[in-house]
Symmetry: C2
Subunit: 98 residues, 2 copies
């Protein structure tokens, strides 16, 4: 199992429209064939010192193999997503774990 | 779906023993009854600017509801894990998303 977890911060953190556009983009991106499972989320409202709550959107992907994750990086659906949606975000942090 | 993703940094990052002890603790913790699914991981070896690779262990939990995650926080199995394993880590970062 390969876990690919991406957190997005928006250029305009207060924009509900931008957030909705990013989520819509991720929903399209979720059709990439090598994705085993995915979850699109937003901060849950929990609040302790150790909890990072400043991001706008969480994009959790599960792949069967590292190769699937590599193939996803260059899949046309992924490249199209980056082209369309990257103007929306100011920062991305990725955690890949196996 | 409630996604609870925890990243641990070890006090002694070079210690394979401490890493193994933390993973063993998480395996015990995974028996907590309200956990729907879990994944214990380590950095995948991917390497781009946006990828955080400095943590030692990734602990991904899926819960059906926010209430299950709340109950997990005070479950005796969780409290025992914190008691036994917290001396191992120097930093924890948590992302909760729904």
């Amino acid at each position: 199992m390969f876990v690919h977890h991406v957190f997005f911060w928006l250029k305009d953190p207060g924009s509900r429209e931008d957030c909705a556009a990013l989520v819509a983009g991720l929903q399209k991106l979720s059709k990439a064939g090598m994705i085993k499972d995915f979850h699109i989320g937003q901060p849950a409202g929990t609040n302790r010192d150790v909890i990072e709550t400043s991001y706008a959107v969480s994009w959790l992907l599960l792949f069967d193999t590292s190769e699937d994750q590599e193939a996803y990086q260059t899949d046309p659906i992924h490249l199209q997503f980056v082209k369309e949606c990257s103007p929306l975000w100011s920062k991305v942090v990725v955690y890949d774990s196996i």
